[in-house]
């Protein structure tokens, strides 16, 4: 009886302690509008311009260019890529598209959002969006699940009239992500995030040489190490409630106080 009481108190204390910790540690997609948002876009995977989540990147280009950006996404996040393209005053019907690729350059599907849109003749702008799947901490090597690491965004026109080629356009791209939290927490983690050139980068660090890298961005608070999720809190609270229910069930069978038929001298 005393053991149960001690146990339940301990669990309760643990739960109280873990509660606020859980609230703190959930990574929030912080908007870092520090005025240093990139104003250019790359033209290939290799030259993709790095942007952070929450940054509004702009770029000017020509119709027909392939514009590339890259951003980091960590486990538990569900990134949404939004792009707005401002079109020249006169143009024919055009189809614009955003494609998102992961760190292994595998195309990632959009759950929803208009990733391909047709700009009608003379339309002044076209808006595109792509909501990715939740980034998992780990998946089978044979699966195509999104994993923590670098993601590439490619914005381009996929269908246009010949006379529209090379016209000046400007584009805005922004990536925000929703924190899915423990619902998406899986066991296991990658030893290194899926950042292209990560093996070369760690070698370069040893050499202390200043060299160009394929991808250098990482989330504000570093890549999550993969052990924390709110599942700890849920399970701990569940354990406590179970203990309390156990005490309750036990108490039910005992009635209140000392049974009347037991003589006082026993």
């Amino acid at each position: 009886m005393r053991i149960t009481r001690v146990l339940s108190t301990a669990l309760l204390a643990l739960g109280l302690a873990a509660g606020p910790a859980a609230a703190d540690s959930s990574p929030s997609p912080s908007a870092t509008d520090d005025g240093k948002a990139p104003t250019r876009a790359g033209t290939s995977f290799r030259t993709a311009t790095e942007i952070e989540q929450g940054q509004q990147a702009t770029a000017s280009g020509s119709t027909g260019d392939y514009l590339y950006w890259s951003f980091p996404a960590d486990a538990g996040q569900r990134p949404t890529v939004k792009a707005t393209v401002k079109l020249p005053a006169t143009h024919g019907t055009q189809n614009w598209q955003i494609d998102v690729y992961d760190g292994l350059r595998r195309r990632q599907s959009c759950q929803y959002g208009a990733a391909t849109r047709t700009a009608a003749e003379g339309a002044s702008s076209v808006e595109l969006a792509c909501v990715l799947r939740t980034v998992r901490a780990w998946s089978e090597p044979w699966a195509n699940d999104p994993l923590p690491g670098t993601y590439y965004v490619r914005l381009t026109v996929v269908d246009l009239g010949a006379s529209d080629l090379g016209q000046p356009v400007s584009a805005e791209v922004r990536v925000d992500s929703k924190d899915i939290g423990g619902a998406a927490a899986v066991d296991g983690s990658l030893a290194e995030p899926l950042v292209p050139g990560v093996a070369v980068k760690s070698q370069a660090k040893e050499d202390d040489a200043k060299t160009a890298v394929l991808s250098s961005l990482e989330p504000d608070d570093g890549w999550s190490s993969g052990w924390w999720s709110d599942r700890w809190v849920w399970t701990a609270i569940g354990g406590m409630l179970a203990a309390l229910a156990g005490i309750g069930g036990y108490a039910l069978t005992r009635g209140s106080g000392r049974p009347s038929r037991v003589p006082s001298n026993v």
């Binding site: 250019r40 033209t43 290939s44 995977f45 290799r46 030259t47 280009g61 020509s62 027909g64 992961d102 292994l104 350059r105 595998r106 195309r107 901490a137 090597p141 381009t156 996929v158 269908d159 080629l165 090379g166 000046p168 423990g182 619902a183 927490a185 899986v186 066991d187 296991g188 983690s189 030893a191 290194e192 899926l194 292209p196 050139g197 093996a199 760690s202 202390d208 200043k210 060299t211 160009a212 394929l214 190490s225 052990w227 999720s229 599942r231 700890w232 849920w234 399970t235 569940g238 354990g239 409630l241 179970a242 229910a245 156990g246 309750g248 069930g249 036990y250 039910l252 069978t253 005992r254």
Partner: protein, 420 residues
């Protein structure tokens, strides 16, 4: 795990810095290897048609000169800039002589703004439009060094020196694997010029821009020069084999190769037990191809068993089609276990209409990363933990039942003890 590694690395770095600082305080400056200087050559069409006064009321030549002056002022320090002209000197009607008329106005090197501007000021619209030969010469001008290389071609008319197709020239330049990009700008172009210039740009992964206003020209050229200054990883040229046994052995890094239509390319990578191989491949379509295409990357053992594959297919206009794979090799208990040779096979299903040249092959870019530590997992949920109201309900119910059971058991025990 990652965080812990970083912490360890940080501690190591700190210790190293401390010891270095104590040992040799005088040579505190680390000798950093500088990023190789990026090279840009501006190739300007000075053919007779540049006299046309149709850019904001001024002549095309005047617009180009103004743009060059602005760009020269804004060129970043580290960029080595050169200027080449085409059709600037020969006034005659002889096609053969006219088609050799390309000259270097300002050599590629550290920029002296005054000299470069003076040189540009002397230009006057003159002769033919030998784009092909000019590109060949420009590529030769940019030879040497490991930095990024970029040619910015500004023209107002199509090449007048057939049969040398400038588009083919561009493709051959790209096929050298020296990472040279050609961006093209068309000054008030007609449909044919636009086709030709965009073909040149596509062949080298460059961009094509249509220019109708002065500001557009200077903005765009300035942007392209700035872009050259961005540090970029230069890929290493390699040549894959037709079978795994003869394939080149690759380490972590970025590689380029060419792959013809319907051919295979094989590469080899050594993976130690406990390491993870990550490979991604992009095949670019640098010429007119049919609108349905795909790429397949397979990791195969030396005995021909497929380990894992990455595949991608697409349709419509694209610059590249790419895919990737990863292969974590499990830790081995055997200390003598040696590295496994993994063969990487790249195939593409691009196709082209008859008449499209098939060689050199399509540009292929391969990224190989061999990282430490395989990933492993034991459960779909993190550490097998649960979450949600159903979990709480189930636990409460189980706890309640356990409590009841315990209570009944102890009552029964007391009753048995009392009867005895």
């Amino acid at each position: 795990m990652i965080r812990r590694q970083r912490l360890a690395a940080g501690v190591c770095a700190l210790l190293a810095a401390l010891t270095a600082g104590l040992a040799v305080p005088s040579t505190a400056v680390a000798d950093e290897t500088e990023q190789p200087a990026p090279k840009v050559e501006l190739v300007l069409d000075v053919s007779g048609s540049m006299r046309a006064r149709d850019i904001d009321g001024g002549s095309r030549m005047a617009a180009a000169k103004q743009a060059f002056n602005e760009v020269l002022d804004a060129t970043p320090e580290e960029v080595q800039l050169g200027i080449r002209t085409l059709g600037a000197n020969y006034r005659g009607n002889d096609r053969i002589t006219g088609c050799k008329d390309t000259a270097q106005l300002y050599p590629v090197g550290p920029l002296n703004r005054t000299e470069a501007k003076t040189a540009v000021a002397t230009l006057a619209p003159t002769g033919w439009t030998p784009i092909g030969p000019a590109l060949q010469k420009a590529a030769a001008d940019l030879d040497g060094g490991d930095g990024t290389r970029r040619i910015v071609l500004i023209s107002d008319g199509e090449d007048t020196c057939q049969p040398l197709d400038p588009c083919e020239v561009a493709r051959e330049i790209a096929a050298k694997g020296i990472g040279l990009t050609i961006d093209t700008l068309g000054l008030v172009p007609d449909a044919k010029t636009r086709d030709q210039l965009s073909c040149i740009a596509d062949a080298t992964g460059g961009t094509y821009t249509d220019v109708r206003h002065k500001e557009e020209l200077s903005d765009r050229v300035g942007e392209l020069v700035d872009r050259a200054a961005d540090p970029v990883v230069t890929p290493v040229a390699t040549e894959g084999a037709a079978e795994c046994a003869k394939a080149p052995s690759l380490k972590s890094g970025l590689y380029t190769d060419r792959e013809e239509f319907g051919r295979q390319r094989w590469y080899k990578v050594d993976v130690d037990p406990g390491q993870e191989l990550r490979a991604s491949v992009s095949v670019a379509d640098d010429r007119a191809v049919n609108p349905d295409y795909g790429v397949l990357l397979r990791a195969v053992t030396v005995h021909g068993r497929e380990i894992v594959r990455g595949e991608a297919a697409g349709t419509g206009r694209t610059d590249v089609i790419s895919t990737g794979l990863r292969y974590p090799k499990p830790e081995s208990d055997d200390d003598t276990a040696t590295a496994e040779t993994v063969c990487l096979q790249v195939t593409n299903s691009f196709s082209a209409a008859a008449g499209v040249k098939t060689s050199p092959g399509l540009p292929l870019e391969l990224t190989v990363d061999v990282v430490d530590g395989p990933s492993k997992a034991g459960d779909v949920a993190s550490f097998g933990l649960g979450r949600g109201w159903w979990l709480l309900g189930a636990l409460v119910l189980a706890g309640f039942l356990a409590g009841l059971l315990w209570g009944w058991l102890s009552r029964w025990r007391v009753a048995v003890w009392r009867t005895n």
